[in-house]
Symmetry: C2
Amino acid sequence: MATITRRAVLGGTAALAAGGRSALAAAPLTGRQVPGFYRQRLGSMEITILSDGAGNFPMPDGFVRNVSRDAAIAAAAEAYMAPAGHITVPYNATLINTGTKLVLIDTGNGPSPPGASVGLLQANMKAAGIDPASIDVVILSHFHPDHINGVKTEAGTPAFPNAEIMAPQMEWSFWMSSDSAAKAKTDMIRVRVVSAAKVLGDVAGRVTRFMPGKEIVPGITALDTPGHTPGHCSFAVASGAAKLFVQSDVTHLPDLFLRHPDWHVMYDTDAETAQRTRHRFLDMAAAEKAPVIGYHFPFPAVGHVEKQGKGYRLVPVAWNAVL
Amino acid sequence: MATITRRAVLGGTAALAAGGRSALAAAPLTGRQVPGFYRQRLGSMEITILSDGAGNFPMPDGFVRNVSRDAAIAAAAEAYMAPAGHITVPYNATLINTGTKLVLIDTGNGPSPPGASVGLLQANMKAAGIDPASIDVVILSHFHPDHINGVKTEAGTPAFPNAEIMAPQMEWSFWMSSDSAAKAKTDMIRVRVVSAAKVLGDVAGRVTRFMPGKEIVPGITALDTPGHTPGHCSFAVASGAAKLFVQSDVTHLPDLFLRHPDWHVMYDTDAETAQRTRHRFLDMAAAEKAPVIGYHFPFPAVGHVEKQGKGYRLVPVAWNAVL
């Protein structure tokens, strides 16, 4: 990485502007953010949250199905999302080094145009010193494109060439069935059936399907958290007495759906079930006082959940400068 | 930076443990955190918050002068500080590229032992691609050691060799006077008079003293926020219509003193004045809805302040993956 310092810029010139200040005295703006990875210990494990970036767009009509667009915009404004009327949706995958396995939960938006604000997982993984070829297991929480598309490279080859892919059996049955597109109630589902087939169809032989309620990798237990999608799973990660939860999309944006757990995000396949799952899951996380990683929480996407009024609040982790 | 991947480790061996798993199949834990810098735009300026790390230690007796140690510990526990009975104190300097000047506000704890969890400013500045020799101006908010000690290197030479140092006139008068140690009411003040003289005494000729209430660098106005120390200053940074505040130590740890603005941190020279300053400053920041950077806020140490009950709350910034 080239580092341009003011001195380097000054090296080639002694030009002074009329006012006596060098016109080139300014250090150039870097325009560069710190890499998006964040580490914390969990017992003898090492957890690395990997940002896939964030998208910012005008609040879609019906983003929250059961409240007005104005109410949704007001909640976004309370979280200082900008510009007015827009929302910011972050994406964060979780890498777990169990001590014997390197396990990646979800894979981000995948190949994206240069300069895009999403699709940053591979770059951030590289910055974190992790070779994609060293990933042993990729676990998919559910089959929405922002979670599975990173399974493939731009060229369509496996992005994690040595990894076993583990997917919820129910997700596979729902999204990979040729029936699902035909039976789909909405265009959103139809489009996603097609995209799931495109990403996972030709690597079916590398995919292990699992049922929730079991330890699917030593230290990682899949939890049945349906509603967002039929087979949507979350994960409990434990090492010794230490535990954390990877909630996947139980709660979408915390400023909207953690604060208002009865709001329904437009992406839910079965919003009523998702709502029940959300209360059950968040009540458990609050009772256990265990950190929760949320795929759509602002990076570093980990914090504690507490009950607050009729909803919940997220207490973001206090950043660790060193491990 | 060497990157050790599982494949690299495996390269030299084919040894398999009895269970059929390679004893060396585990990717080593990295033990390495992401560098502690965070950037955001402010109009045409670029703001870089630079972590100097964080210290964790048992809650000192009298840390909050006017409430019990138990009450202070309870507030720390509500913020999930760990282990029980400890507090974590973060340190964050602010670098401002105004477009014509590179300005650093405060300098961190300075030279620290290898492996220390503080004194990380220089390393994080390097990771951010900033050459210390390119800093044009160092502004000191006040003369406590965790803010000024980074002015010098381990060898006692200037850490920012080309920078003008700007310091509040009142701070200079109080801490650099040979009278102050003699008149000091507490050992804490006496010790700090000696340490200020050690750091700043021999570079007095490079120090410009300023009065608050003025724009001391184009775009940066010093604000009179006394109490924590006699000449303690905060800063308003403005570019076009965009504005933010660098509050320095108006509020120490937000989980204690923003939530409870009438609590007195043990480091205050005049706690009653500091309390009045805190309300005045935080009311202003809340009314202006401008982001506030806090030296002792958890990294990235920037957020919006809102009134909440009898106190305030901090809404941490939503992380920007790209600028």
